[in-house]
Each structure stands twice: as structure tokens, then as C-alpha cells.
């Protein structure tokens, strides 16, 4: 059968045409990925040969002086994304547990889709809301409170006037990562066989003990992979961060200072590169983002093992 279907010698013209079209489309999809890698490397090449790997550690980004280093941007990317992950991972896993283990069926059918709808809101709208509504709120109420309570930690310095900061960026990213982690984890928790949960309950386990001893224990690699995919999303988000982070390419200890991430810097400065080296440096940053994106996806696959986490992401 496969021989016939694949357009072997006995296949009709129609089958051969369909196979050819399908194979061509698949080839195109595969080639696109290769093309992305090739284009980004080619255009980044002038910057790579000029700065080498030192680009990653160098913290000055001054287009007008021809000095380009991604250090400050990597710092901004890491701080905002880790903050997002720090908040979204526990919250998302808790939501997933609620939806798969605790909520009554009627509530599940409503709350589950609502949480997933959060993922559908485009980054431009979240960013716009973030800068107009959320940032002033954080600046007035949350940042002063954190500063007075935890001000001895350099991360929580005095609040700035605008509210545009890596802190705001991290919280906005939380909003964007949360539905990913929540819906992926829920799918994982629903795969845990009912007999295992029933067995634990028959032994007298409370629901939390079932969650800890059976559900989380059997899905831990998948949950880690889901979190990693969420991190990948946060690391690469450009537009929302561009709007709320304040686009300052310097490193400040305080999260309440403005900052910039790799993706947001490209989105800001790509319109008007001052020279070809500036452009190449932005492609170099895109190359770093590409490597990070591929690495998080591959690592998530590796950790997830038997769980096909990305499969549920496509739905």
C-alpha cells in the first residue's frame, strides 16, 4: 500500500501529483527553517567577524559610536524572563492542578478556555495596556511597597517616575507565559491514569498527597518542559517588552529601572539603523535569539521524553 500511495510504478497520475505536492510542501517547510538559520548568519557575519564572541559579554550598545555589545540586553532579557517564569510557573502549575484535579466539571469547562484565551491576546494589545494602564499602577502602588519592604536588596531600588521598567516587563511577560504553562501542564496532568490516582486515594491519601505523590511525580519532566517552552516565549517576546521596558540599553541593579531585551531592541532600532554594522549587530542579536529559541525547544523535547509537549501547544 505505501508503495502505491507514494507514487510508485503502479500509482496513477493523481496519486503521484498529490504525493509530489505534499512532499514539496513538506520540503518547503523544512527548507524555511534552514533558510532562517542561513539568512540570519549571513547578515550577522560582519558583526561576528568584527566582535567575535566578546559581543555577548560587552555591555555597551552605542550605535552612534560604532560600539556594539549585547551584554546589557542579555541582562535585561534574563531578568525580565526569569521574573516572568518565577511568577508564572507556580501560578500556571497551580491553575493546571485546579483545572485537572480540583474544579468541578462545570467550572473546568468555563475556566479552562478563559485561561487559554489569555494566550490569544496579541502582544501589541498587552503591551499597550501595559504601558498605559498597568505601568502607572505598578509605579504608584506595587513598586513603592516592594521598595519599602525589600529595599535592602539592590533589585528593589527606588521606583522611577514612568513605571517603564524591567519589572513591568517581567510582569507583562508573566501574563503572556502563564496561559502557556497552565494549558500545557493541564494537558499533562490529564494524562495521568485514573487507576493510579484511585489507588493512592484508596490508600488514604488526601488530594494534595495524590497530587504530590502521583500527579506531579509522574509528570515532572513534562512540567519542566512546559516551563521551558514558556521561558522560550518570554525570552523572544519583542513588542510587549518594547512598549513597557523603557528601552534603556544599560545595566542597572534595580528592576525598577528601565531596560531593554534583545528582541525589544531589534524591534525598536531596526527601522533606522545608523550604518551597516548596526544592522549586522542586530542580526547578530537575532542569531543569539535563534540559538536560544532552538535550544529551549530542543531541551524541552529532551526533558519531556515520552510527553509530546509541543503537540498540545499547536492546538
Amino acid at each position: 500500500l505505501p508503495g502505491r500511495a507514494r507514487g510508485g510504478p503502479h500509482a496513477g497520475t493523481g496519486d503521484r501529483v498529490l504525493f509530489g505536492l505534499c512532499a514539496l510542501a513538506s520540503l518547503l517547510a523544512g527548507l524555511t527553517l534552514a533558510g532562517i538559520v542561513y539568512q540570519v548568519i549571513t547578515h550577522a557575519n560582519p558583526a561576528i567577524s568584527r566582535f567575535g564572541l566578546g559581543f555577548v559579554g560587552h555591555t555597551t550598545w552605542a550605535p552612534n559610536f560604532g560600539v556594539f555589545g549585547a551584554g546589557a540586553l542579555i541582562y535585561g532579557t534574563l531578568m525580565s524572563s526569569l521574573l516572568a517564569l518565577f511568577l508564572a510557573a507556580p501560578l500556571g502549575i497551580a491553575i493546571a492542578l485546579y483545572l485537572s484535579m480540583i474544579a468541578p466539571p462545570g467550572v473546568r469547562a468555563v475556566v479552562g478556555p478563559l485561561v487559554e484565551l489569555l494566550a490569544a491576546i496579541p502582544s501589541i494589545i498587552i503591551g499597550f495596556w501595559g504601558v498605559v494602564v498597568f505601568a502607572p499602577f505598578l509605579q504608584k502602588h506595587v513598586e513603592p511597597a516592594l521598595h519599602s519592604a525589600l529595599g535592602f536588596i539592590p533589585l528593589f531600588g527606588p521606583p522611577q517616575t514612568t513605571g517603564l521598567s524591567l519589572f513591568t516587563a517581567g510582569l507583562v511577560l508573566t501574563l503572556m507565559v502563564l496561559p502557556i504553562i497552565a494549558s500545557l501542564s493541564r494537558e499533562l496532568f490529564l494524562t495521568v491514569p485514573q487507576e493510579l490516582k484511585d489507588g493512592a486515594e484508596a490508600l488514604g491519601a488526601t488530594r494534595w498527597e495524590v497530587i504530590r505523590g502521583v500527579v506531579l511525580a509522574t509528570t515532572a519532566p513534562g512540567v519542566a518542559a512546559a516551563t521551558l517552552l514558556g521561558l522560550g516565549r518570554a525570552l523572544g517576546e519583542a513588542i510587549a517588552v518594547l512598549l513597557v521596558a523603557g528601552e534603556l540599553t544599560q545595566i542597572h541593579a534595580s528592576l525598577f529601572q528601565p531596560g531593554a531585551t534583545m528582541a525589544s531592541l531589534i524591534a525598536t532600532q531596526f527601522q533606522n539603523p545608523v550604518n551597516s554594522l548596526h544592522l549586522a549587530s542586530m542580526f547578530y542579536i537575532a542569531l543569539l535569539l535563534l540559538v536560544i529559541g532552538l535550544a529551549t525547544s530542543l531541551l524541552a523535547r529532551l526533558i519531556a521524553g515520552r510527553f509530546d509537549v509541543q503537540r498540545t501547544l499547536a492546538r
Binding site: P2, R4, A11, G14, D15, V17, L18, L21, C22, A23, A25, S26, L28, A29, T32, L33, I36, Q39, V40, H43, G92, A94, Y98, L99, V111, P113, L114, L117, L118, A120, I121, P122, S123, I124, I125, I126, W129, V132, V133, L175, T206, R207, I211, G236, A238, I239, L243, A263, I266, A267, M282, A286, L289, L290, G293, L294, S297, Q310, R311, A314
Partner: protein, 308 residues
């Protein structure tokens, strides 16, 4: 919860005839359980509240800006007029992107389910490529198209933006098509084979019609995603696209809703002058939310039809 008190908690000789009450260790376990359940419920409330807050914010600010003139007149200057040109532009660019991504995505899904064995090397490589593509930041995809199309053409066009959007859409359409096609009952394929029907006729007459609801769901979700994508358009379509309606994606930059919002935001000096951006955000959000809800309904109906 009530069981016999264990000896560690109670007296040396438990009173087996007494009423059953929780004590000691069991009471602690029950308390921990209640604490965790309350925490998880609170997390769900926070998650829903986030959605409600953002949507309510956009609706309350945007509904005021919205009127018949706003959606039927072109933008004037940067902050004035309406969004008709941007709405039409988004429709042009997203339609073009869908025309590229949806057929290729469906054919890729067909290749995975009908031609390549699920464990074959080509199927695994293709799935890996699609997953990796889906995990890429959209700004990287945007720069790829900038290098591939905008630099050689020496101008930003709606077409370049549409191709970038199609790359964002492709893995979504392909993986969801593959999912749905693999749910088509095997006996339908076998029945077609037994009748001596050629594979392409079976695909056209049996397999695709059965899976159509699910495939359409994936396509709608991908279109909704593309309509709000900003980075690919910012880099490849012009931020400074003209204020007139652009129906030709190959000529120049095509104005779009996300670019309109960004433009208004960049140029607004007072919060009152942001009203156009709120209005556009409202229209975009309503389209995306309705598309998502519609896609969900469609999926539920087609699942019911396929008996899965």
C-alpha cells in the same frame, strides 16, 4: 475526615467504641490539603482575573472611541480620522499570508498522515522542524524575511510582511491539520482502499471532508494569531505606511491595525490622543476573541462528528 485515632496521637489503648474523630497527623494532612486546594483555586481566580482586567480595560477605553466614522474613514495625519485603511490593510496582508500558509500547512499535514509513516525518519524530521519553527521568536522570523525579501527588493512591502506572517502561521496550520487528519478513522481509508479508490480521490472525497472542521479550526486560530502579530510587520511592512487604502501588497507598505496602534502610541502626547489606539485595539481584540471562540465551537462540533 474521620478515622480511628492512631496510637501515637491518642492514649495507650484506643477506645474502639468511641466516635470517630480526626486527630494529630491526620488533622494536619487535611489542613495542608485544604491550604493547597485554596491556593490552587486562588491561582485560577488570578488567571481569569488577568484576562478580565485586560479585556475590560480595552473595552472600556475602546468602546468610547468606536463609532461608524471610526471604522469607515481613513487615517488623517497620525492621530486623526479612522482606521478603515488599516482594517483593509490587515485584511489584505493576513489574507495573503493565509493563502500561502494554509495550503502548504494542509499539504504538510497530509504528507505526515497519508504518505510518511508516523515513525519514519522524514516524518520525525519534519515534525521537529515544525516544532522548532513554532518555538522561534517572531522577531527572528521577521529578520529572516527582511534579509530574504526586503534587502533584495530595497523596499518594505505588504507582501514581505505577509510572507513573514505565513511563516508564523505555517507550523500552527500544519500541526493542527496533522492532529485532525490522524483522528480520521482508519476504517474510512481502508474502505476507500477496498473499493479500489485511488489515494488522491480518497483524500479529496473522504479524508479531507471528514477532517475539514478540525482543519478549519486550526486555520482560523492561525489567522487570529497572524492578525495581531506585530514584529513581522514592523520589520517588513512599513511603520510609516500611507494613510490611503492600499490594496496592492507588492507596491509599498500596507497600513495595518498593529502598526496603527504603535504609530498612535509613539506620537500621542496626552492620554486623550490615545483614543484611536484604544479603538483599534478594541476592534482587533474582538476579532481575535470571536475567532477563538468560533474555532472552539467548530472543533467541538467536528470532534462530535468524528466520534472522538
Amino acid at each position: 475526615v474521620s478515622v480511628v485515632p492512631d496510637s501515637a496521637a491518642g492514649d495507650a489503648a484506643p477506645d474502639w467504641t468511641g466516635p470517630l474523630t480526626a486527630s494529630g497527623n491526620l488533622r494536619r494532612r487535611a489542613a495542608v490539603n485544604r491550604f493547597v486546594e485554596a491556593g490552587a483555586s486562588l491561582a485560577a481566580v488570578i488567571g481569569v482575573a488577568m484576562l478580565v482586567i485586560v479585556v475590560a480595560s480595552v473595552v472600556s477605553h475602546g468602546a468610547g472611541a468606536l463609532n461608524f466614522g471610526f471604522v469607515t474613514t481613513n487615517t488623517v495625519g497620525v492621530l486623526g480620522g479612522g482606521i478603515a485603511n488599516a482594517l483593509i490593510g490587515t485584511a489584505v496582508v493576513v489574507t495573503l499570508a493565509a493563502l500561502i500558509a494554509v495550503p502548504i500547512g494542509i499539504l504538510t499535514g497530509l504528507y505526515l498522515t497519508e504518505f510518511a509513516g508516523p515513525r519514519s525518519r522524514s516524518a520525525r524530521a519534519l515534525k521537529l522542524a515544525l516544532d522548532l519553527m513554532q518555538g522561534l521568536p517572531t522577531i527572528v522570523v521577521a529578520l529572516f524575511i527582511y534579509g530574504l525579501i526586503v534587502i533584495p527588493e530595497k523596499k518594505e512591502t505588504g507582501f514581505a510582511g505577509a510572507v513573514a506572517l505565513s511563516i508564523v502561521m505555517l507550523p500552527l496550520v500544519a500541526r493542527s491539520s496533522q492532529e485532525v487528519l490522524s483522528l480520521v478513522p482508519g476504517h474510512l481509508r481502508e474502505a476507500a482502499d477496498a473499493l479500489g479508490v485511488e489515494r488522491w480521490r480518497a483524500v479529496r472525497g473522504v479524508i479531507l471532508p471528514t477532517a475539514m472542521g478540525g482543519i478549519a479550526t486550526g486555520a482560523i486560530l492561525a489567522i487570529a494569531r497572524a492578525a495581531g502579530e506585530t514584529a513581522p510587520l514592523l520589520v517588513n511592512d512599513s511603520l510609516f505606511a500611507s494613510n490611503v487604502t492600499q490594496l496592492n501588497p507588492f507596491g509599498n507598505g500596507v497600513p495595518t491595525i498593529p502598526m496603527y496602534i504603535l504609530n498612535v502610541f509613539n506620537n500621542a502626547t496626552t492620554s486623550a490622543s490615545l483614543s484611536g489606539a484604544w479603538g483599534a485595539a478594541f476592534v482587533l481584540l474582538m476579532f481575535i476573541l470571536l475567532a477563538n471562540i468560533g474555532a472552539r465551537v467548530l472543533l467541538a462540533r467536528s470532534r462530535a462528528r468524528m466520534g472522538g
